[in-house]
């Protein structure tokens, strides 16, 4: 079913179930957000995608990442009021994660260069203050990787993210999907020639039989073989070499 509605006066169309944010972006409207990724369930945590949505004569400010498109609604993505709230949210996030470069960049776009709130103090070990608790790592680990190795801990201002009880997790396969999806790059992955360290665990790595480069952890491969449709042979070569081999075959067909 196709749904028709308006964004900033422009008529748009989308499939039922799509989020207003995804549709708006597809049509080229710029709406900021830090906790959204098309691959996982919308979460509504960062509050930056606040827009005004009018439905049946009633207008309200709401986040649009978790708002499913509806026939006849009218979305306004940018007003002085919306900008004011987004700027305040950015001030809050900036104080919480002063070292996060993407946050600073976005804040600057909203004219926020400093925050009126005292910045979170540096940790004892001088670790960066750049986690914004968007939960993308947790959602990717649970919905895409289905490892459920990450979780939120604590509540309110004590909220943090990590493995349950801060102990090394048996569920983690070291795939580092969490790190790749993190908007502020705050998840530490240490890759060396023969090991990967992440979330307090060290994983052995699989080397490509063709080029010799490490390309996944052994735990990742074992999970993929056990749960997925592909045979163990598939994981002997790295994606780059596979592509090369495949393109060679295509070249042969073409000739």
């Amino acid at each position: 079913m196709t749904v028709k509605f308006k964004i900033d006066g422009v008529s748009v169309e989308a499939a039922e179930g799509a989020s207003v944010l995804d549709v708006a972006r597809r049509y080229g409207f710029e709406i900021p957000s830090l906790c959204h990724h098309e691959a996982v369930t919308p979460y509504g945590a960062c509050r930056l995608c606040l827009v005004e949505i009018a439905k049946g004569g009633r207008k309200k400010l709401t986040t649009c990442c978790n708002y499913e498109v509806l026939e006849g609604i009218s979305v306004v993505t940018d007003t002085p009021e919306i900008r004011r709230h987004r700027a305040m949210v950015l001030e809050l996030i900036l104080a919480e994660a002063p070292d996060a470069e993407p946050v600073r960049r976005l804040a600057a776009e909203y004219g926020v260069r400093t925050t009126r709130f005292p910045a979170k103090p540096k940790g004892e070990a001088g670790e960066k203050r750049d986690c914004i608790l968007c939960g993308l790592c947790v959602r990717v680990c649970s919905e895409i990787v289905e490892a459920n190795a990450l979780t939120f801990n604590g509540r309110g201002e004590k909220r943090g993210v990590g493995t349950p009880y801060h102990e090394a997790s048996d569920q983690c396969i070291g795939c580092a999907s969490c790190a790749s999806v993190c908007p502020t790059g705050c998840i530490e992955v240490k890759d060396t020639a023969d090991a990967r360290e992440i979330w307090g665990r060290k994983f052995g790595v699989v080397r490509c039989e063709s080029c010799g480069a490490p390309f996944m952890t052994e735990a990742h491969r074992d999970r993929a073989v056990a749960d997925g449709p592909l045979p163990a042979e598939y994981f002997k070569t790295c994606p780059a070499c596979k592509r090369k081999a495949l393109s060679g075959r295509f070249a042969a067909v073409g000739a």
Partner: protein
């Protein structure tokens, strides 16, 4: 008797019970609600059991341990039928005399009779006491007449009659009755229950759930707790009627683990309802099946929010989610779910039994029925109060509550729990109903009512509630997690004398974003205490900011304790000062060493001569 197989059988069963329960029979009802239990009610009840036996009255007199009677200030309460004599502050050692004189001979013992702290008048009978006289206890009234562990007590008083009637009416007519009665959700929002039920009923699904929200978490609130502890079957009966109407076969009561007595009484009540055939398969022989499970919550305040509550039942972390699609359409496990709170469910049997016309004759046009409040704080008669909607704040606080203790002056009342607003004396004459409270910058909430006197600092109040809310915020969304925390920081700055006019401006700016931008109602309403105190008590904020002075004498960084010439040198404060910083000989004026004073206020509280001044 086992299962009751039809409405007719229920009727005859009830008649049998009613015969045994004659009005002239002597009953000693001991309040064993949580408040009275804390003051030793269980021991009092045990003493009665022993004493009645000892004095040979065991056969003629029924001892009935009941749920909360509401007048917690005066616990342990003992109500004696049929005379309706109410004894207050009864201790186990009083029991022998009460049994031999009052129970056996009808003699009234003056010392246990209620004496009005304002007028000094004594009242023997429960309904003559001003605290009870001005109430309309439709829901709470039964607490004093029922042993919550005995389903027969409830059935004898007409219990499950509404269910029987509803089953004969059919779901459409029940829905119509609830809609016409305009029962509004007692959990806080005041959303019309009938409309909720209708949407749930009409949502296409193969399965629907009903939930009772018993996750009462407001500081000082214990309405739902007392209903569950004192009359659990009313809630269960309401839920069965609701399930029948929306087409559900499975229900949950989400009750916090900190309410062990409520869980215990509810567990017993559910078992007994199952035994009698009010729950389970083929209820009263009508083919309708429904059962209820108890889900114990871990005590997070946010789990009282409907979506967080449902997520918690699903076994996940109790975090709210956006309600763009309502839970009546997609709630628990994605199925249509009808959630109402304890008090709302307890209203349903009354509506069905007596009809919408009767129900709407009570309360106001927009908010029919009664509302239970937990009246606490600086008020003479603290306890649970059930008043018809539309009663004014003044009537509740002064007529029922007996006014402010120790001759203090009324300053503000906070309605609606931690996210409610503080209303000043000018608002005392507004009618208390869902819409008026919101118009005035507060809300009904679940019915908390905290009275404050002139010794309360409103900056301190805002600080306290923001502290509570920042602790209870789940932390999912930025505006609530960071916003409440920063608001708390800013208000603390003011309370500690570090505030500037910019601090107030930033509070107001931030509060607007927290209100507009938060994911769930915890965040959107968290700003109410600070916003309403800034609206009604701005002068007090300005005194803190501009003059570095706390007019109520509360904020420690800004106050000094001093002993005035009224001091008689009685040594009491000197003895009680925990830091030992008061000096002065007997019959000489004492002096506080201001540098070492920790400003605990004990000296002021213990001084009989009003000689300790705070400035």
């Amino acid at each position: 008797m086992g299962k009751i197989g039809s409405p007719k059988e229920l009727q005859s069963y009830r008649e049998g019970l009613a015969k045994k329960r004659s009005d002239s029979k002597k009953v000693v009802a001991v309040c064993c609600g949580t408040g009275c239990n804390a003051s030793g009610a269980r021991k009092v009840a045990a003493a009665f059991a022993e004493e009645l036996e000892k004095q040979g009255l065991g056969e003629q007199v029924e001892l009935r341990p009941t749920g909360c009677h509401g007048f917690c200030e005066r616990g342990t309460l003992v109500l004696m039928h049929p005379e309706e004599t109410l004894y207050q502050r009864v201790k186990p050692e009083d029991v022998a005399e009460i049994v031999s004189k009052t129970v056996a001979k009808g003699e009234v013992l003056e010392k246990h009779v209620y004496d009005d702290p304002v007028t000094g008048e004594k009242h023997v009978k429960e309904h003559e006491i001003p605290f009870y006289k001005h109430q309309n206890r439709l829901i709470l009234g039964k607490n004093g007449a029922i042993d919550p562990t005995k389903i027969d007590d409830y059935v004898a008083l007409g219990g499950y009659g509404a269910l029987s009637k509803a089953l004969s009416m059919g779901p459409e007519r029940v829905l119509d009755e609830v809609k016409r009665a305009n029962v509004r959700g007692r959990g806080g929002g005041g959303f019309p229950a009938g409309r909720k039920w209708e949407t749930c009923r009409n949502a296409p699904a193969d399965k629907r759930y009903v939930i009772c929200n018993a996750d009462e978490g407001d500081p000082g609130a214990f309405m739902d707790r007392s209903v569950l502890e004192g009359n659990p079957h009313a809630v269960i009966e309401g839920m069965i009627i609701g399930a029948y109407t929306v087409g559900s076969d499975e229900g949950y009561v989400y009750v916090r683990h900190e309410y062990p007595l409520a869980v215990e009484r509810l567990t017993i009540a559910l078992e007994q309802a199952r035994e009698k055939g009010f729950l389970g398969k083929d209820i009263l022989g009508t083919g309708f099946s429904f059962d209820i499970k108890i889900n114990r919550g871990g005590g997070a305040f946010v789990c009282g929010e409907s979506t967080a509550l449902m997520t918690s039942i699903e076994g996940k972390v109790g975090e709210p989610r956006a309600k763009h699609i309502h839970t009546v359409v997609a709630g628990l496990w994605g199925k249509p779910t009808n959630l109402n709170n304890v008090e709302t469910w307890a209203n349903i049997p009354l509506v069905i039994e007596k009809g919408a016309d009767w129900y709407t004759s009570i309360g106001t046009k927009g908010s029919p029925g009664t509302k239970i409040f937990s009246l606490v704080g600086k008020v003479n008669n603290t306890g649970l109060v059930e008043a018809p909607m539309g009663m004014t704040l003044r009537q509740i606080i002064f007529d029922i509550g007996g006014g402010i203790p120790k001759g203090g002056a009324f300053k503000a009342v906070q309605t609606g729990g931690p996210s409610g607003g503080c209303l000043p004396a000018e608002k005392l004459d507004i009618p208390v109903d869902f819409d008026t409270l919101v118009e005035q910058g507060s809300m009904m909430g679940s019915g908390g009512m905290i009275v404050m006197d002139d010794r309360t600092c409103m900056v301190d109040v805002a600080k306290y509630f923001l502290g509570f809310l920042k602790f209870e915020s789940c932390g999912k969304c930025t505006t609530c997690r960071e916003g409440t925390r920063r608001l708390h920081e800013l208000v603390t700055e003011i309370a500690e004398g570090r505030g500037t006019p910019e601090t107030i401006a930033l509070i107001e700016e931030l509060a607007e974003t927290v209100k507009e931008g938060s994911l769930c109602a915890l965040g959107t309403t968290a700003v109410n205490p600070v916003r309403s105190t800034l609206q009604f008590f701005r002068d007090e904020y300005l005194a803190h900011v501009n003059e570095k002075r706390c007019p109520a004498g509360v904020c420690k960084a800004l106050i000094t304790y001093e002993i005035t010439d009224a001091c008689t040198g009685c040594m009491v404060c000197k003895k009680r000062c925990p830091e030992g910083v008061i000096s002065g000989d007997k019959k000489q004026k004492h002096v506080i060493d201001a540098k070492k004073c920790i400003k605990c206020g004990i000296c002021r509280d213990v001084c009989k001569f009003d000689a300790v001044r705070v400035y």
